[in-house]
Symmetry: C2
Subunit: 456 residues, 2 copies
């Protein structure tokens, strides 16, 4: 019996319309990346396991897809270990390769491995799939694309400025206007933790603070208390709970809170410089907003932290994020290379563009004109015309079989092909072509030259 075909959970087939829409997003992002001087690289889908393992925490290690060694892989497992029947202990013996979990670690590996061929600062972008053995759920997949731009080898704050501009340019080019680019700085968070005497509880503190929008001030305070932050410390935080207003006025509030922290002051200065430069340059359609509760990937970022929110009214998590990390390549032995980068959330951007009906109609149109097939002689005349049209960059095709007219017209309709050409006996005799507009039903009979002119 034949198998009933299916695909693994958490993976997707993409039909022509979906591929076209995804490629529209990719190509818009790519062209802005290149406008800003970023260059593409690609890395292998799988890496040596030791390149990936231990880089994403315990949870990450668990979610990495491992590739089984080829051949008689069990013969490499020694008998004592084999008798334990312990999956975790056995994995490294039977699997030496693993699928890419993100683009950042392979990028770090690339930079170190190719450091002598690279011009620093190295502005690279990379758009490739990654794989995670996560529990699949709505909007979360086991195979999905990441879309990253990073600069390594420069600690200039102009990079942060450029990334804000880049977000603005990309979303403007996608006609997705009104996104909010939120920014924070790890040094601000460290400074606050220092001021309230909770430097050792930075993560607990930021995790709680991050929930302010969702659970409210009182619950956040309760959580902080429960995590061992003192009542006195929490009181010092009070101005933070009501911080609002313009970027500048928030900066002023922060100056008050952080007056005794050197690190906090540095963070304020960085944010302030970035904001001033962006103000001087202007943004096209996005808004830059200081968000002191923003703490994504805190273990990782050392300076700026970015996150992009969809326009108001669209229910959707962040559609982009990033930040500065000071020692990306250290894990592979290249110290003191500062990096900063951002990424775009393709799947979410896709859903937002769909919801707001922002995909241009043109991108899903493939074939412009279908020639109806009435038999061998007519088909040959059609093929000659098809050839001329293709020379003039018109996407054209001939229906391959002399099937019933209705069947051929249905094919044109269902594929949303805007024009059909009919070449019957009469047209064949007169070297002419009857062009039908599928939307209006209008028909005109033309010679080849006019047909080409009309369609190209």
């Amino acid at each position: 019996m034949a198998q009933k075909p299916s695909i693994p959970k958490g993976t997707r087939d993409f039909n022509p319309e979906q591929v076209a829409k995804r490629n529209y997003i990719f190509s818009t992002i790519k062209s802005q990346f290149e406008r800003f001087g970023f260059q593409p690289i690609e890395t292998p889908s799988f890496e040596n396991s030791d390149t990936l393992m231990g880089k994403y925490g315990e949870e990450g290690d668990r979610l990495i897809f491992k590739i089984l060694n080829s051949g008689d892989y069990l013969s490499k497992v020694d008998d004592a270990l084999y008798r334990e029947k312990n999956s975790n202990a056995t994995t490294p013996k039977i699997s030496e390769k693993a699928l890419r979990y993100d683009l950042t670690v392979p990028f770090a590996r690339y930079v170190v491995q190719h450091q002598n061929e690279i011009e620093f600062p190295f502005k690279r972008y990379q758009i490739q799939p990654v794989w995670r053995a996560d529990r699949p759920q709505k909007g979360r997949f086991r195979e999905f694309y990441q879309c990253d731009a990073d600069v390594v080898g420069s600690d200039s704050l102009l990079q942060e400025v450029e990334f804000i501009q880049l977000y603005d340019h990309v979303f403007s080019a996608l006609k997705l206007e009104g996104v909010t680019i939120k920014i924070n700085n790890r040094k601000i968070l460290s400074g606050i933790a220092e001021v309230i005497g909770a430097s050792d509880k930075l993560i607990d503190f930021t995790v709680a603070l991050d929930k302010l929008d969702k659970i409210g001030e009182e619950k956040v305070k309760e959580e902080m208390l429960a995590k061992g932050i003192s009542q006195e410390g929490i009181e010092k935080l009070q101005p933070l709970f009501s911080i609002s207003g313009s970027f500048e006025s928030q900066i002023d509030s922060l100056k008050g809170i952080l007056s005794t922290s050197e690190e906090g002051a540095k963070g304020i200065e960085e944010l302030s410089t970035i904001n001033k430069t962006i103000s001087a340059l202007g943004l096209k359609t996005a808004t830059l907003q200081l968000d002191v509760t923003l703490a994504r990937g805190l273990n990782y970022y050392t300076g700026a932290i970015f996150e992009v929110a969809a326009p108001k009214g669209v229910k959707m998590g962040s559609i982009g994020g990033g930040g500065r990390y000071d020692d990306l390549t250290g894990i592979f032995g290249l110290k003191n290379v500062s990096g900063v980068g951002i990424s775009f959330g393709l799947d979410r951007i896709y859903l937002v563009l769909e919801e707001l009906n922002l995909f241009p109609d043109t991108i899903t149109k493939s074939t412009e004109v279908l020639f109806i097939n009435f038999g061998d002689n007519e088909a040959l005349a059609c093929l000659k015309a098809v050839q001329s049209l293709r020379e003039h960059a018109v996407n054209a095709e001939l229906y391959p079989d002399a099937a019933k007219m209705k069947k051929q017209m249905n094919y044109a309709n269902r594929r949303a092909i805007p024009f059909v050409v009919l070449v019957g006996e009469e047209e064949l005799k007169n070297n002419s072509f009857t062009l039908k507009n599928m939307a209006t039903g209008e028909q005109t009979t033309l010679n080849l030259e006019l047909l080409v002119a009309k369609l190209s």
Copy 2:
């Protein structure tokens, strides 16, 4: 100690220049695919193992990369089996997914799974990586792209005609002129085997015949004898060994040899129709050649067989191939769907374009102009100009740090950026920009408007 980074054997990193060159080939092929009415699909990188296993023969099964199940996968292996320590028997218990081995089987699975959403004849193209646990060697990789176009649901010979035209258009668009598109037909080979009384030895016969170029007539005959083909049969083959000349004259010779085979006659008719249609339409830069020794993928193809050879003088295996297969989707339960398709060998095409110096210079140029950074104030003025240039679709960047002039100029040189802009004190005062042509050394001082006009 830090790890010395490396990548798995048989895989590759691609640097910006290589990505640009690969994308040039992909985008040229894609645009021709679409010109011919093909639509893109994408399928997941991994499939359920039972979708792939058993579809590529025993050797294929061995070369498929299997993905280890997550979690405590060994607990699912029953103790009796586990005690055997038998890799082959254990694999299906600890691995349920496998990396795509080619694009054809996933395409067949896609067609069957989505048959109710698809308009037939379905003209699809697919450009995605595949993975094979082959022994890596020069030009053979464990991860490489395939680039396929297929039509399913039509047995019209016009499809074969279109694929020949498609090859011609793609290679012409790549400026790779003079390729030879070789064609044969499975029915011709079956007919010959029938005529010489070796129908049951079709594979042995074609394998031997295929070596004619390499080992010569006598050795081929010896091999055929050794495989049990009769002396009498081999004598009947005699005209085949000296078959040559035009497509038409070869067809005439074949008519003589195959006069008693109905299947052979059908093959001759098909080839003849295809050749006549192609002659009527003409090819741009390729040549169509009948090659009765062509037998690639014989187990698979049922009608036309294609192979493309690089222009004379270039040492390279085939750069493309394909053919007609009559029951692609039968393995997944959808019978009687005829298909025909071709593929392009990206890595070999890349090497040929490199050897013949056919990559356009423009494709590897990324940034058009670099602004030299002389400090904060100058940088801000530069960023404003950079912004204007980007608005005018010029790829522009500012060096992020006020590093030594020499370092910044080196960066421009090594990245082959054709222009730099210098904004020092003088320029800042006058709102002007000094543009330097890196090739000629020529310098001009311009206002913003002229700078934009000059570079866009």
